[in-house]
Amino acid sequence: MTNAHLNRRHVLAGLASAASLPGIVQAQTGTPRKGGTLKVSHSTRIAQLNVLQLSGPSEYLAVDMIYSGLVRLSPTMVPTPELATEWTPNNDATSFVFKLRPGVTFHDGTAFSSADVVATFKAILDVATKSPARAVLDMIGDIVAVDALTVRFDLKVPYADLPVSVAHANARIVSAAALKQPLTLLDTTANGTGPFKIESFDSSRFLKLVRHPGYYRPGQPYVDVVEMYLFPDLAAEAANYLSGAMDVMLEVQQADFKRIASAPNSNALRIPSGRFVNVVMRMDQKPFDDVRVRTAMAYAIDRPTLVDLVLEGLGRPAKDNVISPGYRFLADTPDVSYDPARAKRLLAEAGYPQGLKIPLVCSNRPAIRSQVGIAIKSMAQPAGFDIDVQTIPHDTYLANVWRKGNFYVGFWGMQATEDAAFTLLFTTTAAFADTAWNNKEFDALVEKGRSSPDEGERRRIYAEAQALMVRDRPSIIPFFQDVLTASRSVVKGWSAHPLSRTFYVENVWLERA
């Protein structure tokens, strides 16, 4: 993760002309061969292909192959050129100019230009489009086509990380012509600029993509065909991969990882990520309005054991700081060791000398929520917590508990920036402010960090924000979960990303081809 500390300006200049990324293609030896069919298995349905709206894990792989964005996040979370070749902010980070790549064509052969970019971002900012990207792009005031190959984003507030936000996986460029038609057409058809185009799509089982001959990276993609197969049953998916019927298993379950890693002709990949499960303790309600109760909870959890039990060791213990080691501005915060005696003392000081009996609500999807709940129940018992784990259906959870209950288990993906991580859950105006922390000092720090163009100052500000977060502990973040994937050894260049949003399939080639 040292690459994450690269100087920002250096990165912008250095990558402007680079077609491929260090650490992706070069990690594999040998000359890429052309041709062949890559078979990928996945366990969640590709319900739709509308790149502006979708949010399923397998859907993100599909659109990463079909569409391109202006920029794409590299595995080290640095924005790298795609349809935009370079970008420059003004002095106070309120306006960004993006230069577009010339000679790019959509799958239907029409030319790509600034009009498509403007139309796409206007669609994302329209509430009716229901795009998940809107939340991270709503600082955009206006977007202007300066000429056919130049666009300018004018922001309502200073925002230094705009290129990262623009790299949002849902902010891929859709042709202006397609956006004039009914949006529902985008659910099953696509006209993108990505390396592959749709050949056939059956949302109940199968997506077949073929090479886009006009792709703007010459000679790429290497494989002719990519087929994605849906296996809703995880045991069946693993068996299919191990028998050689599939080349890539998009997401490997923790329980299967060792078996798959030790299988012959199989490469299992484990990428540290910032995905996390958190135990929400609502701060405007009893008993968690008292910081001593929250701290007691923090010391009542044996985090390394939790990682072993729930993640099979495939993750990293965390210290209630939402910023994981993959981010640029991680600050060192104090360790939280398992100390039931101390937790018991804190509970007694807070007025619960007999211990605290409390129900912990877990949604049944994904199963990791109740696994964490059950493990915490058993760990926190010696500290005086008598936790009653209640697993309920996901929709009941969303309707009745989430953002309403006082003690439940959340599950979140990694965000692209520190700002996105903070404003997702923890600031007063956060999109999902479910801990009710409402700390003005923290809000101000996040605001300042986002608009400051100076690297050193941002580091200092974000460190302060993180210190504040572990002091107040609005929620318990016990671990960060690794991203797990696997490919057979004939597959070269298969990679994964901490955010699980970009996959670089255009770099993949098959030795048997």
Binding site: R45, A47, Q48, N50, S55, V127, A128, K130, P132, R134, A135, T184, D187, T188, D202, S203, S204, R205, Y229, L230, F231, P232, D233, A235, A236, E237, A238, A239, N240, L242, S243, G244, A245, A263, H394, D395, T396, L398, A399, W402, A431, F432
Partner: protein, 316 residues
């Protein structure tokens, strides 16, 4: 075939389907409370929720909604899936054929295995063969499909053996052999319970018939045992067996839901589970109605077959 009997049965089937449609509609009316939340998931913002709720347009009175739905349904417009954004009609037809193929394969396996098993058990009544078959029959009905499916996966699709694919689907149009190959394990799972059940029925029917005066008379006439069993006894034991098979179509339609989920068979069962999990109301409504229609039709067909085998029924 008596036209009046047929007409009466058809009319009662229509009535049944109207009742099913009302029931399903009532159930889906209670559901939408969470539909918008479920569709947009955790990342929804309040304004997106509002937009979707308006789109769903659930503000009209129930009978207007029901009549509108039925009218469109009868006109061939099944609406669009809320989650998959494709017309429900196509979605269901495609899934229905895949499920039907699976069910037909399972039924064929059952016929080939269950009926001979039942006959053998009846002929060898009281011996260890009969006991073994009876034990298997009881065991078969006592193990749920998901356990059978899991055990078959471990034994026949374990990666190191890989005798059969561990689930998946290849369209028959693409490769007929692979299509059948992928069908083996799910069809075997489905047929296990039915085999147990039907073998038991055939055994008891056959035992009764074999003990009847009619068969005794045939034996006394000196007819060879083969002729007695196959010509006389089996024919008389078939009518009740057909009735049981048609009842078992109900089991089959239920079993398919679990089996398709485990073996990644993209049929009606998986579609229903997906629709229920995601509160996809139009799909839930249509798929349930289609399954009920299939069931009702199979009952009708079995009634007709029984009537043909046993003339007394027609006037009952």
């Amino acid at each position: 075939m008596n036209a009046a009997y047929l007409g009466r049965r058809l009319a009662s089937m229509m009535l049944v389907l109207v009742i099913v449609s009302l029931t399903v509609f009532a159930i889906t009316l209670i559901l939408p409370g969470n539909a918008a939340v479920m569709i947009l998931g955790e990342y929804a913002t309040p304004d997106q929720l509002r937009v979707l709720e308006l789109e769903l347009g659930l503000d009209r009175p129930w009978h207007v909604q029901y009549l509108g739905w039925m009218g469109k349904l009868l006109a061939g417009d099944w609406g669009a899936s809320m989650r998959l954004s494709v017309p429900v009609g196509g979605l269901i037809t495609e899934a229905l054929w895949r499920s039907a193929a699976l069910a037909a394969a399972a039924l064929a396996m059952v016929m080939v295995v269950a009926i001979p098993l039942g006959i053998v058990a009846a002929l060898k009544r009281g011996t260890w063969v009969d006991l073994a078959i009876s034990f298997f029959a009881y065991l078969g009905t006592a193990v749920p499909e998901f356990v059978t499916a899991t055990l078959l996966l471990i034994f026949f699709a374990a990666p190191d053996r890989g005798w059969f694919p561990a689930g998946g689907f290849v369209p028959a149009a693409e490769n007929r052999l692979l299509f059948l190959y992928h069908m083996c394990l799910p069809a075997a799972t489905l047929s296990l319970i039915l085999t147990a059940h039907i073998a038991r029925q055939v055994r008891s029917e056959m035992s009764d018939v074999l003990a009847s005066d009619y068969v005794r008379a045939a034996r006394l006439k000196g007819l060879p045992e083969r002729t007695v069993v196959l010509r006389h006894a089996l024919r008389n034991a078939m009518a009740p067996a057909v009735a049981v098979i048609s009842l078992d179509v109900g089991y089959l339609l239920g079993g398919i839901i679990v089996v398709e989920e485990v073996f990644a068979w993209p049929g009606l069962g998986r579609l229903i589970i997906y629709a229920l999990q995601n509160r996809d109301l139009p799909v839930i409504q249509a798929a349930t109605l289609v399954l009920a229609t299939v069931y009702a039709l199979s009952n009708l067909v079995s009634d007709l077959v029984i009537a043909a085998l046993d003339p007394r029924v027609r006037y009952a």
